[in-house]
């Protein structure tokens, strides 16, 4: 079986993470922000699974499971918030929600 270079997997995870980060930083639509967050979480999970394969150990995948749980909970709460926000302000633009300033 041919082997995959370890760092290639990690670099893929890094690139995916960075893509998600770009999305969080640039998009104004909150739905896209949430999706970008999902991408970042998923990239973290990928890094764990790669490490798990590298060390031939199952604990990396256990961590991936935890991240999965976290993502599920986060999406549930985040979507609830989006619904509430759309009801109140009739927009999905997060720049509108800037009342909590110093």
């Amino acid at each position: 079986m041919e082997s995959i270079p370890y760092e290639h997997g990690l670099i893929l995870a890094a690139i995916l993470f960075v893509c998600g980060l770009v999305g969080v930083l640039t998009r104004r639509n909150i739905v896209f922000v949430l999706m970008s967050l999902e991408i970042m979480l998923n990239a973290c999970g990928l890094a764990f699974v790669v490490a798990s394969s590298r060390w031939q150990h199952a604990e990396g995948q256990v961590m991936f499971l935890m991240i999965l749980t976290l993502a599920a909970a986060e999406v549930a709460v985040g979507l609830g918030l989006i619904i509430q926000m759309y009801r109140r302000f009739h927009t999905v633009d997060i720049s509108v929600l800037n009342e909590m300033k110093g």
Partner: protein, 632 residues
């Protein structure tokens, strides 16, 4: 019996607790029985202890009740120490205290604060007993502050009148000056000798310090500061005349017989320290001399019966300080004893006069009370005779001993003696002025607010047994108390000065005659049958003359000391407080808050409420941190 010495202060303390805890729910009879009875029990115990003590050869004795605090080198026990000096003090405190308590049950009978009065009185007696029984200076200080607190509470006993509260605060604050000095003295003693046990200090000090060394001078001067404050000597005497705002039995017990003599006790107790510092001892003598003269002149001009007695007290304690200063320790203690008798008698008699005349204090509004108040009259005669040191009264023996000892002082003997004799002359003048003005001549008494006192408007002397009996006992003691010999020779055995009179016959006779002369002059001025005409004319002449008027005002105000302190201390302090109204020191701390507030307003600008801005800041921070880690 000596093992029960701990019960001495415990009885009055228990009385205090009972009265405090059941306040307002106790009838006056029960409260009086508890209040006076607890002190009476103490007195009985004290008598039994003294009989055993004297029978067993007057051996000093100490008993540790329990350990109080044990920190580092400090080893303070609740330990009571008994020797001749302590014995005299506990007999005075519990004996005279009991008589005054008994008297108070009559004097205070109509007062709504009856139980409160007795609770304070009992606490005072307990504290005072702790003070004199203490074998270490910490315990002594506990009692010292305890009596100060009770003095404050009792001066302000009738707190409805703001003036009384002012007098109480004044007494508290002025004595605090002395107490602070004493506390510093204790620190010094502990740091130098490593112990605060009085007997150990007295043993250690002569071995470690040479006579006149700086430490000895500092320590004894600081202790003297405490004594001066408590005993109302120059320059801290101004609180005592105002302390007369309290009920009269208080003035008798606290401000004449016991508490104010605590300073004398302290110096006598630590006399070895003062012997190591001759310069300070000389200061003690001159403080006493100056005080007794100043107070004598002031007493001559007062109109308030209690203020006259207060200045007289200051003056008599001045005699005690004079005795201490010339090393006549046992003469000082002897005078303390006789003074407790006759001054308590005078105050209680004055209380009877005041009570009978419905709280009239001005002696020039009395007059001719000889027949209306016979008991008070005779008490005043006896008390004033003893105060004046007329021959064969108790005061005669003690003052005689003091003056003879003063004459023996190696360098300033004559000066101290002349001052003391002049003071004795003044004493005769002012005390018989009081007697003649109040009890002889024409009556100037007018009933004030008659509507209020309709049913008992007449002047009727209260001679209930509770008030008569103490007066009788004290009168007997004032007359014959001079025959008591105080068993303090063993305490002062190592005293350097030998107390034996070397005065010539002429000086001795002069010393005896001068008070009698004073009484006669007083009679001419205030008491003779022609008092209304010739005496009054003479007094008017004296007062009208410019110098006489000036001296009158000057002496009436107590040599202007109050005004002096008002100008020198109180007003600058108030001015300073006025300047510091905005708290200058606080500006430093406020500037901190200004800096914080400025930083806040700057940082608030970064809080835009914009989520993407926060995210970017977060990422920028992340990049910086990782950069620090990677490209170090």
């Amino acid at each position: 019996m000596q093992n029960w010495i701990g019960l001495l202060p415990a009885f009055p303390l228990a009385g205090f607790l009972l009265l405090v805890l059941s306040r307002g729910r106790m009838t006056k009879t029960v409260a009086g029985i508890i209040g006076a009875g607890s002190v009476g029990l103490s007195f009985l115990l004290a008598v039994m202890i003294s009989i055993e003590f004297l029978n067993s050869g007057a051996q000093p004795f100490s008993k540790t009740l329990w350990m109080w605090m044990q920190v580092g080198g400090l080893d303070t026990g609740f330990t009571f120490f008994l020797d001749g000096l302590t014995l005299v003090m506990i007999l005075i405190i519990s004996g005279v205290g009991f008589l005054i308590h008994l008297y108070s049950t009559g004097f205070m009978a109509d007062d709504p604060g009856f139980a409160r009065f007795f609770s304070y009185m009992n606490l005072f007696v307990a504290s005072m007993l702790v003070l004199v029984l203490a074998d270490n200076l910490i315990l002594l200080y506990l009692g010292w502050e305890g009596v100060g607190l009770c003095s404050y509470l009792l001066i302000g006993f009738w707190y409805d009148n703001p003036a009384n509260g002012y007098a109480a605060r004044k007494a508290f604050v002025v004595t605090r000056v002395g107490d602070t000095s004493m506390a510093i003295g204790l620190f010094l003693l502990f740091s130098q000798l490593g112990t605060l046990n009085i007997q150990e200090i007295l043993l250690l000090a002569p071995t470690q310090w040479s006579t006149g060394s700086a430490v000895a001078v500092a320590a004894s001067a600081l202790l003297l500061g405490g004594a001066v404050g408590k005993s109302a000597q120059l320059p801290l005497q101004t609180w005592l005349p105002d302390a007369m705002a309290g009920p009269t039995p208080i003035s008798a017990l606290i401000h004449a017989a016991t508490m104010v003599t605590a300073g004398v006790y302290l110096i006598a107790r630590t006399h070895i320290l003062f012997e190591l510092a001759p310069s300070v001892q000389l200061i003690v003598a001159f403080v006493g001399l100056a005080t007794l003269l100043m107070a004598g002149f002031t007493a001559l001009m007062q109109r308030d019966i209690k203020r006259i007695l207060a200045y007289s007290t200051i003056s008599q304690i001045g005699y005690m300080f004079l005795a201490l200063g010339v090393g006549a320790w046992s003469a000082a203690v002897f005078h303390l004893l006789t003074h407790a008798f006759f001054k308590a008698l005078l105050f209680l008699a004055a209380g009877t006069v005041i009570l009978s005349l419905h709280h009239e204090h001005d002696i020039f509004k009395m007059g001719a009370m000889r027949r209306r108040l016979p008991v008070s009259f005779w008490c005043f005669i006896v008390g004033s005779a003893a105060l004046t040191a007329l021959p064969f009264t108790s005061g005669f023996y003690s003052k005689d001993a003091i003056l003879l000892a003063a004459l023996d002082h190696p360098s300033y003997g004559m000066l101290l003696w002349v001052g003391g004799v002049l003071g004795a002359f003044m004493t005769a003048l002012y005390s018989f002025r009081l007697v003649f003005v109040v009890f002889f001549g024409k009556s100037h008494y007018e009933q004030r607010d008659t509507q209020q006192h309709d049913d008992h408007g007449a002047v009727v002397e209260n001679t209930s047994p509770a008030m008569f009996f103490p007066l009788l006992i004290l009168a007997i003691l004032s007359l014959f108390g001079g025959l008591i010999s105080v068993p303090v020779d063993a305490v002062f055995a190592n005293g350097a000065l030998h107390e034996e009179a070397h005065a010539s016959q002429f000086l001795h006779a002069l010393m005896i005659l001068i008070p009698i002369l004073g009484v006669m002059i007083s009679w001419l001025l205030y008491g003779s049958l022609s008092y209304e005409k010739a005496g009054a004319h003479l007094r008017k002449q004296l007062l009208v003359s410019p110098l006489g008027g000036l001296l009158n005002r000057f002496w009436f105000s107590g040599w202007g000391m109050d005004k002096l302190y008002q100008t020198l201390l109180v007003q600058p302090f108030l001015a300073l407080a006025q300047v510091n109204r905005k708290d200058i020191v606080d500006l430093v701390f406020n500037s901190l808050s200004y800096v914080a507030r400025f930083a806040n307003s700057a940082l608030v600008l970064t809080q835009t409420g914009n989520m993407r801005w926060y995210a970017i800041s977060l990422v920028a921070g992340l990049v910086i941190v990782i950069g620090l880690g990677v490209w170090r």
